[in-house]
């Protein structure tokens, strides 16, 4: 079981074309204990994907360190399954081959791969679409293939970037339940990005509310609610009210600082 440690992470994107640097993440420290379900909640562009990419090993932090299971992250690996914001399926492979891509890399035979993929295809409700190509799927279906593909890795850490954003309400609820069940069964650590307060409260054991650009941890909230979560309960709504207030304050602060980009740019002068 793996814990995730982020220590004083900053991330600056160098923008050579516009001769301006962008401070995307500013001094974020988060530690996620094994078997936690952390939801990252924040507005669009606040750096949620960037943070996830650094845990996955696709991006290097400009400052600070990320460790997973005690080992510093230096590059992507199959110990951290990622569900991307865009599904990123191989367009030349049918659904089942996409789900079983990891096994293809491990040199499994076709029949074995096919059999192994089926369990996960069923899990995300795509039975009957095994031989469809990504171009023949809807956005939500592609997203579910991406989820099945990450689950098949059976990873210690699952990183999910708004995986349910493209789903209808019913499918979303089913998938949320399914995800919680998988998490409880496999005892993995999940970092889940969302900008829906309800979703964060339904899923997480912890919610980190991020500020708008640059991303900072505004507040880390421990959720001690019984499962399955009751979205009409008093406790649930107390948490929701609290988080919505945080977001509202954040929005007001943003509006006061008239030119957010130039503010960010001047901050980097100090950071760099």
């Amino acid at each position: 079981m793996a814990s995730i440690e982020m220590k004083n992470i900053t991330k600056i994107f160098r923008d050579a074309k516009r001769k301006r640097d962008l401070l995307a993440i500013d001094d974020v420290s988060l530690s996620v204990e094994p078997n936690q379900f952390l939801c990252l909640l924040g507005s669009s562009g606040c750096g949620k994907s960037t943070l996830l990419n650094m845990i996955a090993g696709f991006e290097k932090p400009t400052g600070g360190s990320v460790t997973v299971g005690g080992k510093p992250v230096d590059g992507p690996g199959a110990d951290r399954g990622m569900v991307f914001q865009q599904a990123n399926l191989m367009p030349w492979l049918p659904v089942w081959e996409n789900v079983a891509f990891h096994l293809r890399l491990k040199g499994w035979r076709k029949a074995d791969r096919r059999a192994a993929a089926q369990e996960y295809i069923d899990m995300v409700g795509l039975r009957g679409f095994e031989n469809h190509f990504p171009a023949e799927l809807s956005g939500g279906m592609s997203q579910r293939v991406g989820i099945a593909r990450a689950l098949l890795l059976n990873p210690q850490v699952i990183l999910m970037d708004e995986p349910f954003a493209a789903l209808d309400a019913q499918t979303k609820m089913d998938m949320q339940e399914e995800l919680v069940a998988i998490w409880q069964k496999q005892r993995c650590t999940i970092v889940f990005v969302t900008h829906s307060v309800d979703e964060a409260l339904v899923l997480g054991t912890q919610v980190a509310v991020l500020t708008s650009r640059p991303g900072r941890v505004r507040e880390l909230i421990d959720l001690d609610l019984p499962r399955p979560r009751d979205i009409t309960s008093q406790q649930f709504n107390d948490h929701k009210r609290h988080i919505l207030n945080l977001i509202r304050e954040e929005g007001m602060q943003q509006r006061k600082e008239t030119k957010p980009d130039s503010v960010a740019a001047s901050r980097q002068g100090a950071a760099a």
Binding site: F58, P76, M82, F84, M90, W92
Partner: protein, 273 residues
């Protein structure tokens, strides 16, 4: 409607219109006496000479009578050999250049300098190196097909979706696996574009080489017939080259539709019947 009728309707009709119109007009012009018949033989005469060249029934084609298959085969073999070498080396080198910066830095300038040199201008060198036979022709075919295949492969690799590479890396792919399971298939549509341009160049250069440096093949017959003022055979040779080029391109298109079947329904091209 009968099956044959249907096939006629789907395939033959539209494709045959333009050639038919050209043939009829040509026959008319040529029979009108505007030009001496020897300089612009009508299609019927060309067809006659061509028929004899293929089947050898009345020696109209003289020494070439009945030798068409041998001629076509020797041209086709040269195309096949040069093209196969060009495809294999162009794709491999293209992937290497597109993927590794250091390969690009070391070999790209040389390649970009060689590329604008017309393959035809290599003929003297090719004859000195390889003599008069198959080899200079194969070398020219290689030169003609190599660059389009290479350039398109490089382009295909460089425009591969970074996110797919990330996804594969997330699933534990090694660099070699990335190249084989992600970069190559991602570049395949572009590679096929290069292969199709390359096959045209390949035929062009076999014929050129045969006119100068080889004593067999369709290009040789074409040039030889020109010396003997046999314009009917010249035209028959041109038509043969056109047909064979068309057929090989069709073959590559077929291969492409099999290899890229996953594109069906996602591209404009897939609307084609």
């Amino acid at each position: 409607m009968t099956a044959i009728g249907k096939i006629w309707e789907r395939f033959a009709w539209e494709r045959a219109v333009v050639p038919l119109v050209i043939l009829v007009a040509w026959e008319a012009v040529s029979r009108s006496g505007l030009l001496p018949a020897a300089l612009l033989p009508p299609p019927t005469v060309v067809l006659h000479a061509w028929g004899d060249w293929v089947f050898g029934f009345d020696e109209t084609a003289q020494a070439n009578s009945g030798r068409w298959f041998a001629d076509a085969l020797s041209s086709a073999m040269r195309v096949a050999a040069g093209y196969a070498i060009a495809a294999a080396s162009g794709i491999l080198l293209g992937i290497a250049i597109g993927w590794w910066r250091w390969v690009e830095r070391t070999v790209e300038p040389t390649i970009q300098m060689l590329r604008p040199v017309p393959p035809v201008s290599w003929i003297p060198v090719a004859i000195i190196w390889f003599g008069i036979a198959n080899k200079p022709a194969i070398f020219l075919v290689f030169l003609g097909a190599f660059f389009p295949i290479l350039m398109n492969t490089i382009h295909g690799v460089k425009t591969a979706d970074r996110n797919l590479i990330r996804a594969a890396a997330m699933m534990g792919a090694t660099e070699q696996q990335l190249l084989r399971h992600v970069v190559f298939p991602a570049a395949l549509p572009s590679i096929f574009a290069g292969l199709r341009i390359g096959i045209g160049a390949a035929w062009m250069l076999t014929v050129t080489a045969e006119m100068v440096a080889v004593k067999s093949g369709l290009g040789y017959v074409l040039w030889d017939s020109y010396y003997f003022l046999r314009y009917d055979l010249v035209l028959a040779a041109m038509a043969s080259i056109g047909l064979l080029g068309y057929a090989t391109d069709g073959l590559i298109k077929l291969l492409m539709s099999v290899a890229l079947h996953w594109q069906h329904g996602s591209t404009l091209q897939s609307r084609e019947g």
